[in-house]
């Protein structure tokens, strides 16, 4: 079972949650309050949902060997546009207004994704720079939309997206689950996953087998932008306001971290959606842990650094092999390091 690639991320998540239990005895308690589920675990899922979505889009981008730095700006733009539309509408609480606002946000995200995709796949700009452009400019666009202010909206249907509940479960969580399942279905039940992994694993060879790499690459940037937009709607809906300045700030780093912690390599190729979901939850659980056990803000980063590096060491086969060898062969003379065993025959 330890061979399964989700094993170690799952262990890490479990350990983090258990650590909380030591500080807050009723950490695992889930109650029904006002007709909806209430508890720390629910919070982790609830606040983790946007990150899961952003990381999901990022996973596919990374699978093709790219990276998308612009997701944070897309998060901000989506929230800003939706809230602007609602705040200017005659009837902010009508479902029609909300649907229109969501449609506007998604449509603009689509355009942004296409822009990234064209820059990367057609013009041939390195992904990090192509998306950096939108990362910088997009934040400006979000501020332009909000006029640098926080747009507060009061709209029941809009609030549902990120802050509401459905069947006692946070709607955002359900939404995230649905998107994850759809993505899994889309990549694993069709050949999309295989083709993406192929493009990321060896672009030259992929071209020669007749895969239309540029189309696929553009597609993943669009997908990433859409995921980010939905996440942006969730975030803004959760606080019923749009903050063009701060919404989604640095979320790209968290998302990339989630993807990598989940076992997908930044060099492209194989990806694991399950790993990404676990990775995102690990990151969210880590934040919650920091709040609950009361790590002072000035040492938060030091704590985070240690957790991240421990997580990675635990996941590293090389580290585990070494740790095991050290223990088992204290008497035997030290052996030289095995050199990248599984990569050696290429």
């Amino acid at each position: 079972m330890t061979k399964h690639r989700l094993f170690w991320p799952a262990v890490v998540l479990a350990v983090l949650l258990l650590a909380n239990l030591a500080f807050t005895p009723d950490f695992f308690a889930i109650r029904i309050k006002d007709g909806h589920l209430y508890g720390s675990l629910i919070d982790i899922l609830h606040f983790g949902a946007p990150l899961v979505l952003v990381a999901l889009g990022m996973t596919l981008v990374i699978a093709t060997g790219g990276i998308d730095l612009s997701v944070g700006s897309t998060v901000a733009i989506a929230g800003a546009l939706a809230c602007l539309h609602i705040s200017e509408a005659a009837d902010p609480a009508s479902p029609g207004t909300v649907v229109a606002s969501v449609a506007i946000a998604l449509a603009v995200a689509l355009v942004l994704g296409v822009a990234n995709g064209v820059l990367v796949a057609r013009v041939g700009v390195q992904p990090i720079i192509a998306t950096l452009i939108l990362m910088v400019a997009g934040r400006g666009v979000a501020q332009l939309v909000t006029g640098g202010q926080i747009i507060t909206v009061t709209s029941g249907p809009y609030r549902l997206i990120g802050g509401g509940y459905w069947l006692a479960v946070p709607f955002a969580v359900l939404l995230a689950v649905v998107v994850v399942l759809l993505t899994a279905l889309l990549t694993r039940r069709t050949a999309l996953g295989l083709l993406l992994e192929s493009v990321g694993g060896n672009p030259v060879a992929s071209r020669l087998v007749g895969i239309r790499a540029s189309g696929l690459i553009a597609l993943v940037y669009v997908f990433s932008a859409l995921c980010a937009a939905v996440a942006g709607l969730m975030i803004s809906s959760n606080v019923s306001s749009a903050d063009g300045n701060n919404a989604g700030l640095w979320i790209e780093l968290d998302a990339i971290l989630a993807v990598v912690v989940g076992g997908t390599s930044l060099t492209g190729g194989r990806f694991s959606l399950g790993g990404t979901v676990l990775g995102a939850l690990i990151i969210q659980a880590l934040s919650t842990t920091i709040y609950t056990i009361g790590i002072p803000p000035e040492t938060t980063l030091v704590f985070k650094a240690f957790v991240v590096i421990t997580v990675c060491l635990i996941q590293s086969p090389a580290f585990r092999a070494k740790a095991v060898r050290r223990r088992s062969s204290a008497t035997r003379s030290a052996r030289p390091r095995p050199l990248k065993t599984e990569e050696a025959e290429a």
């Binding site: 007749g210 895969i211 050696a344 290429a346």
Partner: protein, 511 residues
């Protein structure tokens, strides 16, 4: 031949064992190498030859056994240590840095220096010298990736020879070289041998082995089968030992695997290229390929065979000329369009242009078929397994696990996977660029038969190989290239021999 029994082996391994997850690649192998000999390491694809070499040079740590160098047990921790201990190696795949110049690839790690800085002019001079030593003519200051696989293979050899080590290990150095280069290489090997260097040589070309080697060690499924003097083992017996069976009829198939095209010589051409060219790569050429016909391309290293083929597949853009498929003019702008016209292309460089190392055997096999169907029409899991298992069996891919990662397969088995990928797409024109590189004798015959059968069923084949015998065995017609120009088209009517092709290449005669 030096009298080895009196001598101490320069390199000896005893009871070497190497396990990979799920595979025992080497199981108690003994092996010795004497100074001043050329020693062949023989075995089927996946027998463990490359693994033995990698364990010897410290790329993989061994799981048991010992390595003795000059009479002393040693632990070689990595290629660097191996080099320092006097073992110089050319690994099976080209392992050079494509982004560096040829000169740097030859000398990196040993660059001549002046005042602690790299002495560039000296570096280029020395590299050019070593290249000239092998009678090659390459611009050493050009980046390595501007050269074809074959040239890169030669550069790797130059690098290894340049070290002047005690032990020289060559893992399938000749897999894509042609006669002239092989001759040059052998001359160098003989010279080194006479200087007392011990040379370990791996090749699937039995003739080459018999030509150059003094002794051989045969591996069978990761175990030692035996050690023989070349003079005392007939080829048929060797083949039998390699496959672990009884000596039978010569492993060579009948002289010709070729069948007559069903529709005869006047059948309409499937593909016709008129004055197709790409400036700087290949001069304008005309070529027609009929259905059911196997057309070979012969030529020396860098003569432009690959370049000519790539234009037909849309892998490179042609700068002039036109292509007609079944009479209609088409523009082959990308591989995708070529594929949609029923063309398949199996590239020569499996590592960089062919396989996706991180994916499994199954995924690599179905990839081209899946790409042609588009992502919305996936092949079902069971269908994929069916296809993969069928071809694993048909081509003898080992290990036979469709879920093994391709990068963990032995070189020859990887080549088979690549071939299987294109065979299942059922194309109308199959372009094979060095399809049998690194494939063992038995499987090679199988593959040749398969190609002949497919052609018999009406498929057109463009067949490129450095091995002229193979070209002659399979092809109905042979196009001869020289200096990136198609200089002749010879019908293979029985009178054609490797020598006559060589003569055509040399004279550059127009047909």
């Amino acid at each position: 031949m030096p009298a080895q029994s009196a001598q101490q082996p320069v390199l000896e391994v005893r009871g070497i064992r190497k396990e990979f997850p799920g595979v025992v690649a080497l199981d108690g192998v003994d092996f010795r190498l004497f100074p001043g000999e050329v020693h062949a390491l023989m075995g089927e694809n996946g027998a463990g030859k490359s693994t033995l070499i990698k364990v010897l040079t410290g790329v993989h740590p061994s799981d048991g056994g010992e390595v003795v160098l000059d009479g002393r047990p040693v632990r070689i921790a990595g290629p660097l240590q191996a080099q320092l201990a006097g073992i110089s190696t050319v690994y099976q795949e080209v392992n050079l840095c494509p982004n560096l110049s040829v000169a740097e690839n030859i000398l990196i790690g040993r660059e001549p220096r002046r005042f602690g800085l790299v002495h560039w002019s000296e570096l280029r001079r020395r590299a050019a010298e070593s290249v000239a030593d092998l009678d090659l003519d390459i611009d050493v200051s050009a980046p390595l990736d501007s050269y074809s696989t074959a040239v890169q293979q030669l550069v790797a050899i130059v690098r290894a020879v340049e070290v002047s080590a005690k032990v020289l290990i060559l893992d399938e150095p000749t897999s894509s070289l042609d006669r002239e280069e092989v001759r040059q290489l052998f001359a160098v090997m003989r010279r080194l041998r006479d200087q007392g260097v011990a040379i370990l040589f791996v090749s699937h070309f039995l003739d080459q082995v018999y030509e150059i080697c003094d002794r051989m060690t045969v591996l069978l499924g990761g175990r030692l089968e035996g050690e023989y003097l070349t003079g005392e083992l007939r080829q048929v017996d060797l083949v039998a030992r390699m496959i672990g069976g009884e000596p039978s009829d010569p492993g060579e198939p009948s002289d010709s695997a070729r069948r007559e095209p069903a529709e005869g010589a006047d059948a309409p051409p499937f593909l016709r290229a008129d004055g197709l060219a790409r400036s700087g790569a290949i001069e304008p050429y005309d070529l027609t390929i009929r259905s059911g016909e196997v057309v070979g391309l012969a030529g020396l290293l860098g003569s432009g065979r690959t370049e000519a083929a790539r234009l037909l597949f849309g892998a490179d853009h042609s700068t002039r000329g036109s292509v007609r498929i079944e009479g209609a003019e088409v523009s082959l702008r990308t591989p995708r369009t070529a594929i949609s016209h029923g063309i398949a292309f199996c590239p020569e460089d499996r590592k960089t242009e062919g396989l996706i190392g991180e994916l499994t055997v199954r995924e690599n096999i179905v990839l081209a078929l899946q790409a042609a169907r588009g992502w919305t029409r996936p092949l079902s899991g069971t269908r994929q397994d069916e296809i993969a298992l069928h071809w694993i069996r048909a081509l003898g891919i080992r290990p036979g696990n469709p879920e093994a990662l391709v990068r963990n397969l032995s070189g020859g088995n990887q080549q088979k996977v690549l071939l299987a990928r294109w065979l299942i797409t059922d194309p109308k024109l199959l372009i094979l660029d060095e399809p049998t590189r690194g494939i063992d004798v038995g499987a090679k015959a199988e593959i040749q038969k398969l190609v002949a059968d497919l052609a018999g069923d009406g498929m057109s084949v463009l067949f490129i190989s450095a091995e002229l015998e193979e070209v002659l065995r399979l092809c109905h017609r042979v196009g001869v290239l020289r200096d990136r120009r198609l200089v002749a088209e010879l019908p293979n009517d029985g009178s054609l021999t490797p020598e006559s092709i060589m003569a055509t290449i040399a004279s550059g005669a127009q047909s």
